[in-house]
């Protein structure tokens, strides 16, 4: 395991009395591709801006290679940022944009030329030196912004929804390019997005946030397969979330029945949330199912059918390549490993009541 390059300790930031970031603790390892994921307004940008030095935390510490950098201005941090809308300098051409950081460091002309050339090659914009940035497409501007940051060889690159303004096809291409670049240049990427698919595709580590609080930190596979709570399960893709009771280790009750599962470590008869992914449920003949129900809707989604099956007052979403007629009676099965048991979230209303 490589060493920690950035640590956030009890970081809190409020705007007008509302906490945008609420007591965050997180560490980021060297060369990691880490993504802050969460719905709009959950505090991702605020967290990133505190790391970059553009916002001061109300309390808590930011450590860079073990040294507290709370009071270091942005221009003294060995961190560069790709801003949400690129923020290219529109009165300069592509070359001058990329040269900006190098000129400040008084880089000799020949070295500057060499490094800029290398960067333009990396972002596939060779020959674009003299172009005016206004004349570039969104994707090209994006790549200039990346080159402008990377040419300074920062230890950490912050990216705030860098692909949000691009269309779907270009976004997919840029995702792959960014991942390749990160591998090639060996820089720590701290990436912000509200797009769960993007986060799961690109990252080594995903940090799910909601209301300024970290909900879960883990690898994309962990986050997807073992969501820690209802919010994460719901945010990371479509899910069936049921209320249940953990009878004992490896035995959970929901939908009026008891099921074997692989989870343990709960109290006896503790109320829990149970998640079953739509693609983990198999449709069988009625008499072969663990549960039985009636198909209420079928939509073809290109690769699979998305079906809703009503059983005992709950609508299960199921992804399957087999089509069932609406109105047909079916059985549903799933294995113990398909059942994900999570601690029950105390919701705001319950807290107040």
């Amino acid at each position: 395991m490589s060493r920690k390059i950035i640590e956030l300790k009890n970081l809190t930031k409020s705007y007008n009395g509302t906490k945008a970031v609420d007591n965050i603790n997180l560490f980021i390892r060297e060369n990691e591709f880490i993504t802050l994921l969460g719905p709009s307004g959950c505090g991702k940008t605020t967290t990133l801006r505190m790391i970059g030095g553009f916002e001061n935390p109300d309390s808590g510490d930011i450590l860079f290679e073990g040294v507290r950098i709370n009071d270091l201005p942005p221009y003294k941090r060995n961190i560069n940022t790709i801003f949400q809308r690129y923020a290219l300098f529109t009165h300069m051409n592509v070359y001058e944009n990329i040269a900006f950081g190098l000129r400040i460091k008084k880089t000799p002309k020949d070295e500057m030329d060499r490094r800029i050339k290398k960067m333009l090659k990396l972002v596939e914009l060779e020959g674009f030196e003299k172009r005016h940035v206004d004349s570039l497409s969104g994707g090209q501007q994006q790549r200039v912004a990346i080159a402008r940051a990377l040419v300074n060889e920062p230890k950490v690159l912050l990216l705030d929804e860098p692909l949000a303004a691009l269309d779907l096809k270009l976004r997919k291409e840029m995702q792959i390019e960014l991942m390749d670049m990160q591998k090639n240049v060996g820089i720590t990427f701290i990436y912000v997005t509200h797009d769960q698919e993007e986060a799961l595709t690109m990252s080594d580590t995903v940090v799910v946030m909601n209301n300024g609080v970290i909900q879960q930190v883990g690898s994309p596979v962990d986050i997807y397969n073992e969501p820690k709570n209802r919010f994460v399960a719901d945010f990371i893709g479509e899910s069936n979330i049921l209320e249940g009771v953990m009878i004992e280790d490896y035995l959970v009750e929901f939908a009026g029945k008891k099921f074997k599962c692989v989870d343990k470590g709960f109290q006896h008869n503790e109320p829990v949330d149970v998640v079953i992914r739509p693609e983990d449920i198999d449709v069988t003949r009625r008499e072969d199912g663990l549960l039985e129900g009636v198909v209420t809707s079928v939509v073809f989604k290109g690769v699979h059918y998305e079906m809703l099956v009503e059983s005992n007052g709950f609508e299960y979403m199921i992804h399957s390549t087999d089509m069932q007629e609406v109105g047909s009676e079916v059985g549903l099965t799933f294995g113990p490993e398909d059942i994900h048991v999570m601690k029950r979230e105390v919701t705001e209303i319950e807290k107040q009541g």
Binding site: G52, Y75, F83, F89
Partner: protein
């Protein structure tokens, strides 16, 4: 068809009202005969006479110097004020903007008398310096109003991007923010220059010790009776201001509203 003709006639009449006095003035500035209402043939002698009149040459000099200095000073002050206003919180911004509008909407005579009262109360002798200060004063709001839209158009994170790349705040201001808003700054400077050349009322109250500008000269000449050389001088000023306005208009035509 009829509607369109009527529209055209209507507009024609309006322009006639607006421009007839100016047109008459320009025509008479080339009139050989000294008496009005009588065309004595084409001449440029009144223009020649202007440049032999030492009072007018002096006034021309002061007009130009005051316009140049006041537009430069007010551009510098106004630009930094605009940057400050732009970075203020929403509430403070509203208040300051309204305070900024006040001198724009205030009648010149009130501004002029107010400034004079101020100068007299601090025992400043009215003259070149007081006129210059008063011009700087009334120019600043216009510079602010022409720079602010450029700041608003600028990407919110432009300055931060410069800091991010290692620029000190001063370097970021010099190399990024100022160049990005330069078109607005130049427009503001041109506007300040124009307003300064154009001003009569405020200058009238805030000068003394024999320092006059062209509009004051025209005023005092007119009081002594209309000489044809006034027409010539007025024509020159009119054309100067018209050219400046055209330039400003061209610069702001690209969707940059001066008054938001």
């Amino acid at each position: 068809m009829v509607g369109r003709t009527i529209k055209r006639i209507y507009i024609g009449i309006i322009f006639l009202f607006l421009y007839a006095p100016i047109l008459v003035l320009i025509i008479y500035s080339f009139n050989e005969s000294k008496s009005r209402g009588h065309w004595g043939g084409f001449t440029l002698k009144w223009y020649g006479e202007l440049f032999r009149d030492p009072d007018i040459i002096k006034a021309l000099y002061y007009t130009f110097i005051v316009a140049l200095l006041s537009s430069l000073i007010s551009t510098v002050i106004g630009t930094f004020a605009a940057i400050g206003i732009h970075n203020m919180g929403l509430f403070g911004k509203k208040i300051v903007l309204n305070i900024n509008y006040l001198p724009v909407l205030n009648p010149d005579i009130v501004t002029g008398v107010a400034l004079m009262t101020l100068f007299v109360s601090v025992n400043m002798r009215l003259g070149f310096l007081t006129m210059l200060i008063s011009h700087v004063m009334f120019n600043i709001p216009y510079v602010i109003l022409s720079v602010l839209p450029k700041l608003r158009q600028m990407n919110r994170h432009m300055a931060e991007a410069a800091l991010d790349l290692g620029a000190t705040p001063f370097y970021a201001m010099r190399k990024v923010v100022i160049p990005e808003i330069m078109p607005g700054v130049v427009t503001g400077a041109l506007m300040a220059f124009t307003l300064s050349v154009d001003d009569f009322v405020i200058s009238f109250f805030n000068t003394g010790s024999g320092v006059t500008n062209l509009s004051i000269v025209i005023y005092s000449m007119a009081r002594r009776g209309i000489k044809p050389s006034i027409n010539a001088l007025s024509t020159i000023m009119l054309l100067t201001v018209a050219v400046l306005l055209l330039v400003i208009n061209k610069r702001t035509a690209k969707g940059d509203e001066l008054i938001p």
